[in-house]
Symmetry: C2
Subunit: 595 residues, 2 copies
């Protein structure tokens, strides 16, 4: 912390190997110019993942420990659930790793636990409120909401704000008419529209679908519900996108949890819990500082899903890191899934929230994944790799490079230079490696270099670091892909056609009705966060390479109003399934039965 | 931390106001004599509580800030659920408080979150295991439990231990017979006997009774279950009673979660998750250091319930604090509920686990509670107090002192000197205060003093501190109430008769059958942890004063084998209800609907 220029009162130490960094730093360094901002994205991966995290870590190790350039890696915090499943941790690997790995992978500094607590407090408030409204008179409800305390009866600040929203310009609780009392006290939530679910940071398959409220005390108000994995909470997406404590509080208040019986949105603010949620999240908003094996600083902060959310680590960590590295330094961060998903969301959602402009995209490829795109046999987690993947096969590589080419083209849509990082495995032949780099450069990459950071640490990524440094000095004409003012359907179509290569999109009646609802409710100007499989550019995971001629089906459309995006569900899977899927393609697995 | 003699590498700082203390301290100070060990207990309380926490904090403030004697307070960490309900926090109050209060009451250093994670990992493992056993062949299960990794198939250490328990003395997975494979791979859990529940640290009434496993992927294996409040987890009781990392791991492994179809216990170790639970709890085992308003050191560590568990903070915090204060110093800790429950368990369960000998008991009384015992009107949380409690009424006080007298006698059963601390409210008259102190001394208390720590801080408890210091130099003939070797029923009877004043006990058939089962399973020699209302010495909360002539009904008997006690359920309420009840008598409340 001292080496990177933090003052004593700007850090909060958590044990010997972790610290939280205070947001006051942003104020102190506000006149400091930002460093270069590098995004690590990937080609369409196999289910095993192609090593974006190790490239991110290897690259900063190379920059700082080998080229003596200030750098910072900004990573997502992994969910604890998959860590105990077959996925294992997400601290990188080999000699490109965040240490100590068990601190990184387990409780860290408690941010996911704080999200769980806040998420579940809100869930409990929803059901409790419905029960009370169903079983009490207007007057009883009102007395409970605005009790006499030490002989005095007063509205709280949050209640006064609600009165103003309802058009009731009164401040004395004694003066409301019966009609106003009813309006104030009843949220009139339609239980069938509740979208807010409880969460748990454990892979617990038996909580996928449950019935709640079966105790006698709940008077028969049973309801079907589910637990999502904690990182799928909208609060996680908010943590990743927020820019200050005040902004986070506002976003938490704006979260829509259901509709009322008239079809109007009901928010966390309506439930009166914004302050409680914010206090539970007051430490989580500070990024956690750790370091790599070679002593490079790392921020670990937020880990939203890359399907129903945007799959990127926090805006605040990036902003602070960009100040700390100085004008000539580098901040390297990672986007979930392939570039068609994680990078597109990084640009259109995260960069919009932060106002930051990326300098370079590093596109990670592997010979393995390219062979798969070239027609190689299926790659399955847990099963041994077929010989096509362990022996030289230049034809498969050449055929599969179409996917790499397409992902390079997607990057170019945003006007940012792209460097291809070929993550080399020991079974890759020199001819295969050369072929990939050759094709990448022909396809418009600024450069393409093989990396050996897994086995060699930063030393194995020095060439990549040099290429990235050069690319960062290129002309940069960054632009968003669409204007927010376009209709929701139009924004979806632009992503589908320009990024995925779809011929067109097709909305189900349910999706169309949701689009109409959100537009009517005033949420039409939000960016789009596509929930699509990451295993294909299309909606069909088995279609590798560069699928064409497909119509992208949109089965439903949901919204995270606090986080600030609309998320269309692509294909026939439900939102529930997306929220249970683990990042990087591994399924929401049952816990391992053995150690 | 420096002032109390901690070395730099013995603390792990968590932000500016909290630190965890490493267990290595115990090794460094092992030859240091222990300080004096003071327990703060109470008379039978009103539902409002009588101020044991503020007395504990006021007393250490008086000892250290005013009498210049080393002291330490050891407190329980409160559940976050009730903090957001009507209960509020548990950091003490007024000028006898742990600061900062919001750190104390919310996430603290994450121990309860760690318990939640460990508890729910085990819960998920149980249901997943049953599902797999129901849907897979012996061979498929075995291949999953003992997979081929990089061409090699090996048993893990935990699996070898299981083989030994099963009497299979083989180490090569390839040599097991079909029968042995089946025996090894199948736990054969009887779902109707599962006692392990999921937990959440939120007051969420709709999770009191739920149905899990309703998604199609769970193939119809639905089951009724519930969420308990996190602090009711057996893992919390283990954290409070453990003496080392190794001991904790063993206790976690011994936890019984269900019976198999033959009626034999199934443990966490059988499920193979002991290592995962221990790693999740590796930081939680270290006590958290905070301080009072007057700079006295405080350990906050563990907060098990005082009904289904023993209601005392951790053995490890007490042990470390006793070394740190030195031979002439004082460690003051608190037992939940009235002395008949919390203190009895402190002596018979906690002191047995720790081997520590208490020096003095401070018995907290209030004029309010004594008036209630003397026949005063009902005291209800949330409702204004009747005038009997706000105006002088010597007769009610005198009549109610029978409860104080009885609690003093209970203390004397254990051979420890008792000092009565009268927690004075501003409505108490001098004559009332004098009367209580007079009767207390006549009833065998070593001393009885009024305290004003709430309004005056440590200065208001100086007389109490002086009395405690004198009492600590008295002859001390501490003894346990019963021998562990007695039959379970006999131990229950001794507590009921000698402590509660019952005429006898009466076991339901279900309770008797559980006693027989535990005795047969080899758990008969554990201490007893009575789950009884704290609002009366009897099982009937409305019976105040000193009830006599009652037969104590035992409706059921449960066990926490890892924590190491049998818990009989007194009266007609179910264990589930106990696990939802908040400590100190406030109900498992719905979250407040307003801020």
């Amino acid at each position: 912390a001292k080496e990177i220029g933090l003052l004593t009162d700007e850090i909060e130490i958590y044990g010997q190997t972790k610290a939280k960094v205070r947001l006051s730093l942003l104020e102190r360094l506000k006149d400091q110019p930002d460093g270069k901002y590098v995004l690590v994205a990937g080609i369409t991966p196999t289910p095993l993942g192609e090593g974006k995290s190790t490239v991110t870590i290897g690259l900063v190790q190379a920059l700082t420990a080998h080229l003596n350039i200030n750098s910072f890696a900004c990573l997502r915090q992994p969910s604890q659930g998959p860590t105990f499943g077959v996925k294992g941790g997400a601290a990188g690997g080999g000699y490109a790793q965040v240490i100590p790995m068990e601190e990184f992978n387990l409780h860290l500094t408690g941010d996911i636990h704080a999200i769980t607590a806040a998420n579940n407090l809100l869930a409990a408030a929803i059901d409790a409120r419905i029960l009370h409204e169903n079983t009490q008179s207007d007057k009883a409800l009102y007395n409970r909401l605005v009790p006499v305390v030490n002989g005095v009866r007063e509205f709280s600040a949050i209640q006064l704000a609600r009165l103003r929203r309802l058009g009731i310009n009164k401040t004395d609780p004694g003066t409301l008419t019966e009609e106003e009392i009813s309006k104030f006290a009843r949220l009139d939530i339609d239980p069938s529209t509740i979208t807010w679910q409880r969460v748990v940071d454990t892979n617990d398959r038996f909580l996928r679908k449950i019935t709640v409220g079966q105790a006698n005390t709940e008077k028969g108000f049973v309801r079907q519900a589910q637990f999502d994995i904690a990182v799928a909470s909208e609060i996680m997406a908010i943590l990743a996108l927020t820019t200050s404590l005040q902004d986070m509080k506002e976003r938490l208040g704006k979260m829509v949890v259901a509709n009322d019986k008239k079809g109007e949105p009901v928010t966390a603010e309506d439930l009166g819990v914004t302050g409680a949620l914010a206090v539970l999240m007051k430490d989580a908003i500070k990024p956690t500082l750790m370091q790599t094996l070679e002593g490079t600083p790392v921020f670990v902060h937020a880990g939203p899903f890359a399907n129903i959310a945007h799959g990127n680590s926090s805006v605040l960590a990036d902003k602070i890191a960009l100040k700390l590295v100085g004008e000539k330094g580098f901040v390297v961060t990672e986007a979930g899934f392939g570039a068609d998903i994680g990078m597109e969301k990084f640009f259109n959602i995260k960069c919009r929230a932060s106002g930051l402009v990326p300098s370079v995209v590093v596109l990670v490829a592997t010979v393995r994944a390219l062979k798969m795109h070239g027609g190689g046999p299926n790659v399955t987690a847990g099963a041994p790799l077929k010989k096509e993947y362990t022996e030289e096969n230049l034809q498969l590589v050449a055929d599969g490079c179409c996917n790499l080419q397409k992902q390079i083209q997607i990057t170019q849509l945003f006007g940012v230079p792209v460097v291809v990082a070929l993550n080399v495995f020991k079974t890759d032949s020199p001819a295969e490696v050369d072929l990939v780099c050759e094709i990448a450069k022909q396809s418009g990459a600024f450069d393409a270099v093989p990396c050996n950071h897994w086995s060699a640490g930063g030393r194995g990524a020095v060439k990549l670091a040099q290429a990235v440094e050069k690319a960062a000095n290129q002309k940069n004409s960054f632009k968003y892909l669409y204007n927010l003012e376009l209709p929701i359907v139009e924004k979806i179509r632009i992503i589908a056609q320009k990024v995925y290569g779809a011929q067109d999109i097709e909305l189900s009646p349910a999706a169309q009705s949701q689009v109409d609802r959100y537009t009517r409710q005033g949420f039409g100007n939000l960016p789009i966060c596509m929930a699509k499989t990451h295993l294909s550019l299309s909606h069909q995971p088995e279609r590798k390479g560069v699928p064409t001629g497909f119509i992208l089906p949109i089965s439903d459309v949901r919204a995270s109003i606090g986080a600030g995006f609309i998320y269309p569900l692509v294909g026939t899977v439900s939102a529930d399934k997306y929220k249970r899927a683990c990042p990087e393609g591994l399924k929401w697995l049952e816990v391992r039965c053995c150690e």
